[in-house]
Symmetry: C2
Subunit: 391 residues, 2 copies
């Protein structure tokens, strides 16, 4: 061939800025059947009910015929929007289906963020949201606790245009912590005062093991909250289905954008999800899932108590998939990573969930994916590594 194309020269500035996720890069280089993985936010495959899923697919074809495999509405299949509406008590008009809740995050970023705009995230927060916001060149401002008002005022003073507040109120990824009712009220007050949207990312809300439900922020302020739900943790991640609750004017713009992005969500998956929601099988199984994860959380907490040296502390989540560890400042969890993998354990450094380079002495541990034997073994190995660092 005559001329070698210089692909790099052709990439757009935004396109060239995408880098592979450090979390997902982890999974490529190792045979994970041999690694004790506390890294991914993976549900246990024991909770995936393949028989129910096949039955729901068969039922959907029987009830609606092959036509359900045609192109569908960008808004999502009406059967699924109605099933979600019945289950969660939100009007169909305020519900749209997304091809994963990651897509929900990305669509929100795309319809709101001009390059340079300010978005505010509770810190630490979900890496996938940081990546998406960054890809639209948002100024991502990490906020500790509920200091959103001060951060927004400061951003306005600096000439930035604030767009939204992004929070994971229920069992935050990565900390597992839940925002109190008072904190939710305060954030909603700030958003209304500042005339901003709140993106309430809520994939773990139904995985509560203990404590009392706190109302969703959407239920408290449907005028200024976009609530992102997901089937990944209540059915299976492979379905790539999520939902958005929100004001109709915002949803209309989100759907117009989604049309250009992938036209519509996968259809058979939507009908399976609708069937399992409607006949109660999804939530019957979810009760078992919650039991299973409660046991795993309790077990990991016990193992942390048993093995961790002093100077290590951790969160005690009431639900979700993660425990977050704070280590002595001397321990750099990014630098430690290769040693941990060599010793047979994977985790995600807390640094990746911070927007400002902090958090290198923290780490996220997932407890849903591994069985108890491996949880004990993994915690024991990590504790040994920490001891080596502290000495």
């Amino acid at each position: 061939m005559d001329v070698q194309i210089d692909y790099g020269r052709l990439f757009s500035d935004d396109g060239a800025a995408f880098v592979p996720s450090p979390v997902r890069a982890i999974f490529k280089n190792y045979d994970f059947s041999r690694i004790i993985s506390f890294a991914g936010g993976y549900p246990s495959p024991d909770t995936f009910r393949t028989d129910d899923i096949l039955a729901a697919a068969r039922d959907a074809f029987r009830a609606y015929g092959p036509g359900i495999l045609q192109y569908g509405a960008t808004e999502g299949a009406m059967q699924l929007r109605q099933a979600v509406s019945r289950k969660y008590g939100v009007p169909v008009d305020n519900i749209r289906i997304t091809t994963s809740s990651q897509q929900g995050i990305d669509l929100c970023a795309r319809i709101f963020v001009n390059p340079g705009d300010a978005v505010f995230v509770s810190q630490p927060t979900f890496l996938g949201a940081i990546q998406s916001f960054r890809s639209y060149r948002a100024n991502i401002i990490g906020v500790k606790d509920t200091g959103f008002q001060a951060a927004i005022t400061k951003a306005r003073d600096e000439g930035l245009v604030p767009k939204f507040i992004y929070v994971i109120p229920d069992f935050n990824n990565p900390t597992g912590e839940t925002l109190s009712l008072e904190a939710r009220r305060e954030i909603i007050g700030v958003a209304r005062k500042e005339s901003l949207m709140i993106i309430e990312d809520s994939p773990y809300r139904e995985l509560r093991f203990s404590g009392e439900d706190v109302p969703s922020m959407y239920s408290m302020a449907p005028d200024c909250v976009l609530h992102l739900g997901s089937f990944s943790k209540i059915l299976a991640p492979g379905f790539r289905l999520g939902w958005v609750f929100g004001p109709r004017q915002v949803l209309a713009q989100l759907v117009a954008c989604k049309q250009s992005v992938d036209l519509c969500p996968p259809m058979l998956d939507q009908y399976i999800a609708a069937g399992l929601l409607d006949d109660g099988r999804l939530h019957d199984n979810l009760r078992n899932t919650v039991e299973l994860y409660r046991g795993k959380r309790d077990f990991m907490l016990r193992m942390l108590e048993k093995y961790m040296p002093s100077g290590v502390s951790w969160t005690r989540p009431e639900g979700g998939l993660f425990i977050f560890l704070a280590l002595p400042e001397a321990i750099d969890t990014v630098a430690l990573y290769d040693r941990a993998l060599s010793a047979g354990v994977a985790y995600v450094s807390g640094a990746f969930f911070h927007t400002d380079g902090s958090g290198r002495n923290t780490m996220r541990l997932n407890y849903s994916f591994m069985d108890k034997d491996r949880i004990e073994e993994g915690v024991r190995i990590l504790a040994g590594l920490f001891r080596d660092c502290i000495v």
Copy 2:
């Protein structure tokens, strides 16, 4: 509530620019069981083999277990990449799976287009591509026939940065026409000389009814072509699965972008598609699909001959889903649309497939979706409307 949020003020410039597709808007306001629709690019649901699909799902769970419903690789499930590789003779390393070929188009636009960059499309071309390119603020330059070199030179003279050429070489949407081998060679020559990529959008390639296969542009120039394939027309649109063949460096950037967009394609769908590709059922059925569509194309062509007044001409495609009509200049197919719908027939005005406002005297007719009785009735009604306009 105290303050009404002004959502419009919060939208990004790009986000606010999204408008619903005129084609998809059509489908919302009518009960399509009563309309003769030549509008959508819908496959016939008679070609969707629900039994095969259920069997493939069952087989996948038996062979691989529930773990296939876990989060998967952003690159696509290896089983599907391997099945596509075996079928189409492209190395696995040069194959990625996308969540629909619309997503393939959108990812290409996102990784290549800076606002203002020039992209070149054969005119008329696929509306969904125009929408996506426009959303990244590309300068979309429509090119008749193979006049790409002149258009690129002119764009460079005007200070624009050319990025890629977008073509649908096999049974173009909307015209149904196929690029000759010579035309493909010429476009590849231009791309290499100008050091640009070619996006070869090829969802209809396997729906050939007559004539001889022309080699894909990717097979002729794998260094500068991104080939987009789709399961929508060979399996079912509801699967939302496509593939990209291309140079590894470009695919790596595309995957890094996709990670932030939706993490991975739907998993069960991928395993079903892989199973049906591997055991030959997909292509066994495709032979029936091709027979069915050949009959429908032939029938629509005969009906056009039978009913259309003089002054109306049309393409005679060797495959794909569409016939394209050129009408006397006096007929405005955008203006005519409401009358046609009232008379019970839907089509898409050719104007939507042009980037420059031309094509108002053209229209796209789909023949795959309707049965023969309705094809005859619809053509008869359209011919009557044209006669009314010409008089």
